[in-house]
Protein backbone atom coordinates (compact mmCIF):
# COMPACT_ATOMS: atom_id res chain seq x y z
CA UNK A 1 0.00 0.00 0.00
CA UNK A 2 1.49 3.33 -0.98
CA UNK A 3 1.52 6.52 1.01
CA UNK A 4 -1.32 8.23 -0.81
CA UNK A 5 -3.48 5.18 -0.24
CA UNK A 6 -2.75 5.17 3.49
CA UNK A 7 -3.55 8.84 3.71
CA UNK A 8 -6.78 8.27 1.80
CA UNK A 9 -7.85 5.46 4.13
CA UNK A 10 -7.01 7.60 7.12
CA UNK A 11 -9.11 10.46 5.81
CA UNK A 12 -12.12 8.18 5.39
CA UNK A 13 -11.48 6.51 8.72
CA UNK A 14 -11.42 9.83 10.57
CA UNK A 15 -14.55 10.96 8.82
CA UNK A 16 -16.45 7.77 9.61
CA UNK A 17 -15.43 7.74 13.27
CA UNK A 18 -15.82 11.40 14.11
CA UNK A 19 -18.41 12.75 11.70
CA UNK A 20 -20.52 9.69 10.93
CA UNK A 21 -19.95 8.23 14.43
CA UNK A 22 -19.31 4.69 13.26
CA UNK A 23 -18.16 2.02 15.68
CA UNK A 24 -15.64 -0.82 15.40
CA UNK A 25 -14.03 1.08 12.57
CA UNK A 26 -10.68 -0.10 11.26
CA UNK A 27 -8.56 -0.10 8.14
CA UNK A 28 -8.17 -3.58 6.68
CA UNK A 29 -5.98 -4.78 3.84
CA UNK A 30 -7.25 -7.37 1.40
CA UNK A 31 -4.44 -8.21 -0.96
CA UNK A 32 -3.46 -4.91 -2.56
CA UNK A 33 -6.77 -3.32 -1.70
CA UNK A 34 -7.29 -1.42 1.55
CA UNK A 35 -10.76 -0.63 2.80
CA UNK A 36 -12.24 0.88 5.92
CA UNK A 37 -14.60 -1.49 7.77
CA UNK A 38 -17.08 -0.46 10.37
CA UNK A 39 -20.60 -0.34 11.70
CA UNK A 40 -22.82 2.70 11.19
CA UNK A 41 -24.21 4.51 14.21
CA UNK A 42 -27.74 3.69 13.19
CA UNK A 43 -29.56 1.62 10.67
CA UNK A 44 -28.90 2.87 7.18
CA UNK A 45 -31.34 1.12 4.95
CA UNK A 46 -34.54 -0.70 5.34
CA UNK A 47 -35.04 -1.85 1.83
CA UNK A 48 -37.27 -4.73 1.17
CA UNK A 49 -34.65 -7.42 1.53
CA UNK A 50 -33.89 -6.19 5.00
CA UNK A 51 -37.46 -6.09 6.18
CA UNK A 52 -38.14 -9.48 4.74
CA UNK A 53 -35.33 -11.16 6.63
CA UNK A 54 -35.83 -9.16 9.76
CA UNK A 55 -39.27 -10.33 10.58
CA UNK A 56 -40.57 -7.65 12.91
CA UNK A 57 -38.12 -5.05 11.70
CA UNK A 58 -35.41 -5.26 14.32
CA UNK A 59 -32.44 -3.27 13.15
CA UNK A 60 -30.14 -6.00 12.02
CA UNK A 61 -28.29 -4.07 9.34
CA UNK A 62 -27.01 -1.70 11.97
CA UNK A 63 -24.69 -4.40 13.15
CA UNK A 64 -23.71 -5.39 9.63
CA UNK A 65 -20.16 -4.52 8.66
CA UNK A 66 -19.70 -2.12 5.78
CA UNK A 67 -16.65 -2.05 3.54
CA UNK A 68 -15.71 1.42 2.39
CA UNK A 69 -13.36 1.79 -0.56
CA UNK A 70 -11.88 5.29 -0.64
CA UNK A 71 -11.34 7.21 -3.85
CA UNK A 72 -10.02 10.70 -4.41
CA UNK A 73 -11.97 13.13 -6.52
CA UNK A 74 -10.33 16.33 -7.67
CA UNK A 75 -11.93 19.26 -9.42
CA UNK A 76 -9.03 19.28 -11.78
CA UNK A 77 -8.19 15.72 -12.72
CA UNK A 78 -9.74 12.34 -13.43
CA UNK A 79 -10.31 9.93 -10.60
CA UNK A 80 -9.03 7.00 -12.65
CA UNK A 81 -11.89 4.84 -11.42
CA UNK A 82 -13.04 2.33 -14.03
CA UNK A 83 -15.30 -0.70 -13.97
CA UNK A 84 -12.16 -2.81 -14.07
CA UNK A 85 -11.02 -1.18 -10.82
CA UNK A 86 -14.32 -2.03 -9.19
CA UNK A 87 -14.04 -5.60 -10.49
CA UNK A 88 -10.62 -5.82 -8.92
CA UNK A 89 -11.75 -4.46 -5.54
CA UNK A 90 -14.63 -6.92 -5.41
CA UNK A 91 -12.30 -9.76 -6.36
CA UNK A 92 -10.08 -9.04 -3.37
CA UNK A 93 -12.88 -8.72 -0.82
CA UNK A 94 -14.69 -11.70 0.77
CA UNK A 95 -16.70 -13.21 -2.06
CA UNK A 96 -19.95 -13.21 -0.14
CA UNK A 97 -19.89 -9.43 -0.30
CA UNK A 98 -22.51 -8.00 -2.61
CA UNK A 99 -22.24 -4.39 -1.67
CA UNK A 100 -19.28 -2.08 -1.59
CA UNK A 101 -19.42 1.44 -0.22
CA UNK A 102 -17.52 4.01 -2.21
CA UNK A 103 -16.09 6.80 -0.06
CA UNK A 104 -15.48 9.70 -2.43
CA UNK A 105 -13.00 12.15 -0.90
CA UNK A 106 -13.66 15.48 -2.58
CA UNK A 107 -11.20 18.29 -2.67
CA UNK A 108 -13.73 20.59 -1.01
CA UNK A 109 -13.20 18.75 2.27
CA UNK A 110 -16.34 16.62 2.19
CA UNK A 111 -16.59 12.88 1.78
CA UNK A 112 -19.68 11.39 0.17
CA UNK A 113 -20.68 7.74 0.28
CA UNK A 114 -22.31 5.64 -2.40
CA UNK A 115 -23.26 1.97 -2.47
CA UNK A 116 -22.12 -0.12 -5.40
CA UNK A 117 -23.83 -3.46 -5.99
CA UNK A 118 -22.66 -6.17 -8.31
CA UNK A 119 -25.23 -6.75 -11.02
CA UNK A 120 -28.71 -5.27 -11.24
CA UNK A 121 -30.24 -4.10 -8.02
CA UNK A 122 -33.78 -2.85 -7.71
CA UNK A 123 -34.31 0.39 -5.81
CA UNK A 124 -35.60 0.56 -2.28
CA UNK A 125 -39.31 0.13 -2.30
CA UNK A 126 -40.12 2.89 0.15
Amino acid sequence: MNGENTALCNAVFTNLVYQQLWTETKIVDFGDVSVVCGIPSHKLTNDQNDTETEGDGQASTATEKHFVYPILMHQYKNSGLTMNTIDHVFSQLPNTLKRLTLGIVNDDGTIVYYFIYKGLRKPKKN
Binding site: L81, M83, Y117, R121
Partner: protein, 282 residues
Protein backbone atom coordinates in the same frame (compact mmCIF):
# COMPACT_ATOMS: atom_id res chain seq x y z
CA UNK B 1 -52.66 -12.59 -39.39
CA UNK B 2 -49.24 -14.16 -39.08
CA UNK B 3 -47.65 -15.18 -35.85
CA UNK B 4 -44.91 -12.64 -36.06
CA UNK B 5 -45.42 -8.94 -35.80
CA UNK B 6 -44.24 -6.80 -38.69
CA UNK B 7 -41.98 -3.89 -37.96
CA UNK B 8 -41.42 -1.35 -40.73
CA UNK B 9 -38.17 0.53 -41.06
CA UNK B 10 -39.01 3.98 -42.44
CA UNK B 11 -37.11 7.17 -43.06
CA UNK B 12 -34.67 5.87 -45.62
CA UNK B 13 -34.21 6.09 -49.34
CA UNK B 14 -33.14 3.41 -51.79
CA UNK B 15 -29.67 4.88 -52.06
CA UNK B 16 -29.09 4.79 -48.29
CA UNK B 17 -26.72 2.27 -46.91
CA UNK B 18 -26.58 3.43 -43.28
CA UNK B 19 -29.47 1.44 -41.98
CA UNK B 20 -28.82 2.16 -38.34
CA UNK B 21 -30.55 5.50 -38.87
CA UNK B 22 -33.81 3.96 -40.08
CA UNK B 23 -36.80 4.35 -37.81
CA UNK B 24 -38.69 1.21 -36.71
CA UNK B 25 -42.47 1.71 -36.49
CA UNK B 26 -45.64 -0.38 -36.21
CA UNK B 27 -49.16 0.53 -37.30
CA UNK B 28 -51.15 -2.60 -36.58
CA UNK B 29 -52.68 -2.64 -33.11
CA UNK B 30 -52.67 -6.44 -33.03
CA UNK B 31 -48.92 -6.36 -33.72
CA UNK B 32 -48.43 -3.72 -31.04
CA UNK B 33 -50.25 -6.00 -28.64
CA UNK B 34 -48.09 -8.95 -29.68
CA UNK B 35 -44.76 -7.29 -29.09
CA UNK B 36 -46.01 -5.93 -25.79
CA UNK B 37 -46.49 -9.50 -24.69
CA UNK B 38 -42.83 -10.01 -25.53
CA UNK B 39 -41.83 -7.15 -23.27
CA UNK B 40 -41.54 -4.34 -25.81
CA UNK B 41 -43.81 -1.37 -25.16
CA UNK B 42 -42.40 1.24 -27.57
CA UNK B 43 -43.48 4.85 -27.77
CA UNK B 44 -46.74 6.00 -29.37
CA UNK B 45 -45.99 9.00 -31.56
CA UNK B 46 -49.10 9.70 -33.66
CA UNK B 47 -51.80 12.24 -32.96
CA UNK B 48 -54.85 10.60 -31.44
CA UNK B 49 -57.72 11.38 -33.82
CA UNK B 50 -60.23 11.68 -30.98
CA UNK B 51 -58.13 14.07 -28.92
CA UNK B 52 -55.73 15.95 -31.17
CA UNK B 53 -55.06 18.88 -28.82
CA UNK B 54 -52.71 17.30 -26.31
CA UNK B 55 -49.45 15.41 -26.06
CA UNK B 56 -50.14 13.09 -23.16
CA UNK B 57 -52.08 10.42 -25.02
CA UNK B 58 -50.89 9.58 -28.46
CA UNK B 59 -51.84 6.91 -30.94
CA UNK B 60 -50.31 4.85 -33.73
CA UNK B 61 -47.75 4.63 -35.12
CA UNK B 62 -45.73 3.08 -32.36
CA UNK B 63 -42.06 3.89 -32.55
CA UNK B 64 -39.39 1.49 -31.35
CA UNK B 65 -35.75 1.93 -30.51
CA UNK B 66 -33.54 0.16 -33.04
CA UNK B 67 -32.39 -2.16 -30.23
CA UNK B 68 -35.98 -3.29 -29.70
CA UNK B 69 -36.58 -3.96 -33.37
CA UNK B 70 -33.38 -5.97 -33.68
CA UNK B 71 -34.10 -7.98 -30.55
CA UNK B 72 -37.63 -8.82 -31.62
CA UNK B 73 -36.32 -9.96 -34.98
CA UNK B 74 -33.49 -11.95 -33.47
CA UNK B 75 -35.81 -13.63 -30.96
CA UNK B 76 -38.18 -14.57 -33.77
CA UNK B 77 -41.08 -12.44 -32.58
CA UNK B 78 -41.10 -10.08 -35.51
CA UNK B 79 -39.97 -9.57 -39.07
CA UNK B 80 -38.38 -6.34 -40.21
CA UNK B 81 -39.57 -4.79 -43.45
CA UNK B 82 -37.68 -1.97 -45.05
CA UNK B 83 -39.87 0.49 -46.93
CA UNK B 84 -39.16 3.63 -48.90
CA UNK B 85 -41.27 6.29 -50.53
CA UNK B 86 -39.84 5.44 -53.94
CA UNK B 87 -41.00 1.84 -53.58
CA UNK B 88 -44.46 2.97 -52.55
CA UNK B 89 -44.85 5.31 -55.50
CA UNK B 90 -43.48 2.68 -57.80
CA UNK B 91 -45.96 0.05 -56.69
CA UNK B 92 -48.81 2.58 -56.89
CA UNK B 93 -47.90 3.26 -60.48
CA UNK B 94 -47.86 -0.43 -61.22
CA UNK B 95 -51.31 -1.10 -59.76
CA UNK B 96 -53.71 -3.05 -61.94
CA UNK B 97 -57.03 -1.49 -62.74
CA UNK B 98 -58.80 -4.60 -61.40
CA UNK B 99 -57.07 -4.43 -58.04
CA UNK B 100 -57.94 -0.82 -57.74
CA UNK B 101 -61.52 -1.50 -58.67
CA UNK B 102 -61.73 -4.30 -56.14
CA UNK B 103 -60.54 -1.97 -53.39
CA UNK B 104 -62.90 0.76 -54.51
CA UNK B 105 -65.76 -1.68 -54.34
CA UNK B 106 -64.73 -2.69 -50.85
CA UNK B 107 -64.71 0.95 -49.82
CA UNK B 108 -68.09 1.72 -51.28
CA UNK B 109 -69.47 -1.43 -49.69
CA UNK B 110 -68.29 -0.18 -46.34
CA UNK B 111 -69.80 3.21 -46.96
CA UNK B 112 -72.96 1.47 -47.99
CA UNK B 113 -73.04 -0.32 -44.66
CA UNK B 114 -72.61 2.98 -42.86
CA UNK B 115 -75.50 4.45 -44.86
CA UNK B 116 -77.68 1.44 -44.12
CA UNK B 117 -77.01 1.83 -40.44
CA UNK B 118 -77.76 5.52 -40.57
CA UNK B 119 -81.02 4.87 -42.38
CA UNK B 120 -82.10 2.34 -39.83
CA UNK B 121 -81.29 4.74 -37.04
CA UNK B 122 -83.17 7.52 -38.79
CA UNK B 123 -86.27 5.41 -39.23
CA UNK B 124 -86.11 4.35 -35.62
CA UNK B 125 -86.07 7.96 -34.60
CA UNK B 126 -89.03 8.79 -36.86
CA UNK B 127 -90.97 6.00 -35.33
CA UNK B 128 -90.50 7.22 -31.80
CA UNK B 129 -91.41 10.76 -32.78
CA UNK B 130 -94.47 10.01 -34.88
CA UNK B 131 -95.35 6.68 -33.39
CA UNK B 132 -98.87 7.61 -32.31
CA UNK B 133 -100.35 9.17 -35.45
CA UNK B 134 -98.52 7.06 -37.96
CA UNK B 135 -101.18 7.49 -40.59
CA UNK B 136 -100.30 11.18 -41.24
CA UNK B 137 -97.07 10.33 -43.01
CA UNK B 138 -95.60 6.94 -43.78
CA UNK B 139 -92.60 6.44 -41.54
CA UNK B 140 -90.70 3.98 -43.71
CA UNK B 141 -89.90 6.46 -46.47
CA UNK B 142 -86.89 8.72 -46.36
CA UNK B 143 -87.05 12.02 -48.14
CA UNK B 144 -84.31 12.97 -50.61
CA UNK B 145 -83.15 15.82 -48.44
CA UNK B 146 -82.64 13.55 -45.45
CA UNK B 147 -80.99 10.94 -47.62
CA UNK B 148 -78.58 13.60 -48.83
CA UNK B 149 -77.77 14.70 -45.28
CA UNK B 150 -77.06 11.14 -44.30
CA UNK B 151 -74.77 10.61 -47.24
CA UNK B 152 -72.86 13.72 -46.27
CA UNK B 153 -72.37 12.52 -42.75
CA UNK B 154 -70.72 9.26 -43.71
CA UNK B 155 -67.33 9.01 -42.04
CA UNK B 156 -64.30 8.76 -44.34
CA UNK B 157 -61.57 7.14 -42.33
CA UNK B 158 -57.86 7.38 -42.98
CA UNK B 159 -56.86 3.82 -42.20
CA UNK B 160 -53.79 3.04 -40.12
CA UNK B 161 -52.69 0.07 -42.17
CA UNK B 162 -51.67 -0.01 -45.80
CA UNK B 163 -53.20 -2.38 -48.31
CA UNK B 164 -50.16 -2.02 -50.47
CA UNK B 165 -47.41 -2.53 -47.90
CA UNK B 166 -46.83 -6.14 -48.84
CA UNK B 167 -46.02 -5.11 -52.36
CA UNK B 168 -43.50 -2.46 -51.59
CA UNK B 169 -41.68 -3.73 -48.53
CA UNK B 170 -38.48 -5.64 -48.55
CA UNK B 171 -37.81 -8.15 -45.75
CA UNK B 172 -34.63 -7.54 -43.80
CA UNK B 173 -32.71 -10.72 -43.21
CA UNK B 174 -30.68 -11.61 -40.15
CA UNK B 175 -27.53 -10.86 -42.05
CA UNK B 176 -28.69 -7.32 -42.59
CA UNK B 177 -29.47 -7.00 -38.90
CA UNK B 178 -25.80 -7.70 -38.33
CA UNK B 179 -24.98 -5.08 -40.88
CA UNK B 180 -27.06 -2.50 -39.06
CA UNK B 181 -25.07 -3.25 -35.92
CA UNK B 182 -21.77 -3.19 -37.78
CA UNK B 183 -22.48 0.37 -38.86
CA UNK B 184 -22.87 1.82 -35.43
CA UNK B 185 -20.53 1.02 -32.56
CA UNK B 186 -22.61 2.72 -29.90
CA UNK B 187 -25.69 0.82 -31.02
CA UNK B 188 -23.70 -2.42 -31.02
CA UNK B 189 -22.60 -1.87 -27.40
CA UNK B 190 -26.05 -0.80 -26.27
CA UNK B 191 -27.70 -3.70 -28.03
CA UNK B 192 -25.81 -6.12 -25.79
CA UNK B 193 -27.09 -4.22 -22.78
CA UNK B 194 -30.63 -4.03 -24.09
CA UNK B 195 -30.67 -7.74 -24.81
CA UNK B 196 -29.37 -8.69 -21.37
CA UNK B 197 -31.94 -6.50 -19.64
CA UNK B 198 -34.79 -7.73 -21.82
CA UNK B 199 -33.84 -11.30 -21.15
CA UNK B 200 -33.92 -10.43 -17.46
CA UNK B 201 -37.56 -9.49 -17.83
CA UNK B 202 -37.24 -5.72 -18.02
CA UNK B 203 -39.29 -3.44 -20.27
CA UNK B 204 -37.19 -0.56 -21.58
CA UNK B 205 -38.07 2.92 -22.71
CA UNK B 206 -35.80 5.71 -23.98
CA UNK B 207 -34.22 7.34 -20.92
CA UNK B 208 -32.56 10.61 -21.90
CA UNK B 209 -34.97 12.68 -19.86
CA UNK B 210 -34.06 10.67 -16.83
CA UNK B 211 -30.36 10.89 -17.46
CA UNK B 212 -29.74 7.51 -19.04
CA UNK B 213 -29.93 5.52 -22.25
CA UNK B 214 -32.83 3.44 -20.96
CA UNK B 215 -35.32 3.51 -18.17
CA UNK B 216 -36.09 -0.09 -17.19
CA UNK B 217 -39.39 -1.36 -15.76
CA UNK B 218 -39.80 -4.68 -13.94
CA UNK B 219 -42.92 -5.45 -16.00
CA UNK B 220 -45.43 -3.68 -18.21
CA UNK B 221 -45.01 0.07 -17.67
CA UNK B 222 -48.78 0.44 -17.57
CA UNK B 223 -48.77 -1.23 -14.18
CA UNK B 224 -45.29 -0.85 -12.67
CA UNK B 225 -42.91 1.89 -11.68
CA UNK B 226 -39.52 1.91 -13.31
CA UNK B 227 -36.58 0.57 -11.35
CA UNK B 228 -33.42 1.44 -13.21
CA UNK B 229 -31.82 4.29 -15.11
CA UNK B 230 -29.35 2.49 -17.33
CA UNK B 231 -26.39 4.40 -18.70
CA UNK B 232 -24.92 4.04 -22.17
CA UNK B 233 -22.77 0.93 -22.42
CA UNK B 234 -19.10 1.61 -21.87
CA UNK B 235 -15.79 -0.17 -22.10
CA UNK B 236 -14.75 -1.52 -18.73
CA UNK B 237 -11.44 0.29 -18.99
CA UNK B 238 -13.10 3.68 -19.52
CA UNK B 239 -12.84 6.29 -16.77
CA UNK B 240 -16.01 6.81 -14.78
CA UNK B 241 -17.04 10.45 -14.51
CA UNK B 242 -17.61 10.58 -10.77
CA UNK B 243 -19.53 13.84 -10.85
CA UNK B 244 -21.92 12.34 -13.36
CA UNK B 245 -22.26 9.22 -11.21
CA UNK B 246 -22.98 11.27 -8.11
CA UNK B 247 -25.62 13.17 -10.07
CA UNK B 248 -27.25 10.03 -11.35
CA UNK B 249 -27.25 8.23 -8.05
CA UNK B 250 -28.48 11.30 -6.14
CA UNK B 251 -31.30 11.72 -8.60
CA UNK B 252 -32.01 8.01 -8.49
CA UNK B 253 -32.39 8.04 -4.74
CA UNK B 254 -34.99 10.76 -4.86
CA UNK B 255 -37.03 9.15 -7.63
CA UNK B 256 -36.53 5.52 -6.58
CA UNK B 257 -34.48 4.39 -9.51
CA UNK B 258 -31.13 2.70 -9.26
CA UNK B 259 -28.40 4.17 -11.42
CA UNK B 260 -26.93 1.35 -13.47
CA UNK B 261 -23.56 1.29 -15.14
CA UNK B 262 -23.22 -1.35 -17.86
CA UNK B 263 -19.79 -2.43 -19.06
CA UNK B 264 -19.11 -4.42 -22.20
CA UNK B 265 -15.98 -6.15 -23.36
CA UNK B 266 -15.38 -7.27 -26.92
CA UNK B 267 -14.62 -10.84 -25.88
CA UNK B 268 -17.83 -11.32 -23.90
CA UNK B 269 -21.39 -11.40 -25.13
CA UNK B 270 -23.02 -10.52 -21.79
CA UNK B 271 -22.35 -7.12 -20.25
CA UNK B 272 -21.46 -6.62 -16.59
CA UNK B 273 -23.61 -4.36 -14.46
CA UNK B 274 -22.96 -2.28 -11.39
CA UNK B 275 -25.83 -0.60 -9.59
CA UNK B 276 -25.14 2.59 -7.68
CA UNK B 277 -27.19 4.35 -5.03
CA UNK B 278 -26.56 7.01 -2.42
CA UNK B 279 -25.56 5.42 0.86
CA UNK B 280 -27.92 7.56 2.91
CA UNK B 281 -25.22 9.41 4.81
CA UNK B 282 -22.37 11.79 4.03
Amino acid sequence: MGEKATIYLVGGSQSDDNWSQLVPVLYDIEDIDKIRQHGVAGVLVGTLGGAPQQNVFLGVPLRLMMEEALWLAEAGHAVLQRVTGQDLIHSLEGLHAETLKKWKDEDSAEMGRQLEWKRAKFLQKMKTIRGTNAEAEPCDVIKDRDEQLMKHSIFVETKDISRLAKQYSETVSGLLCQQILAHDKKLRFNYKVYKALRENGYFMSPGARFGGRYVAYPGDPLRYHSHLTVQDARGKEEDIDLLNMINGARLGTSVKKTWVLPGVSSDKEAPDFYSVEWAGFG
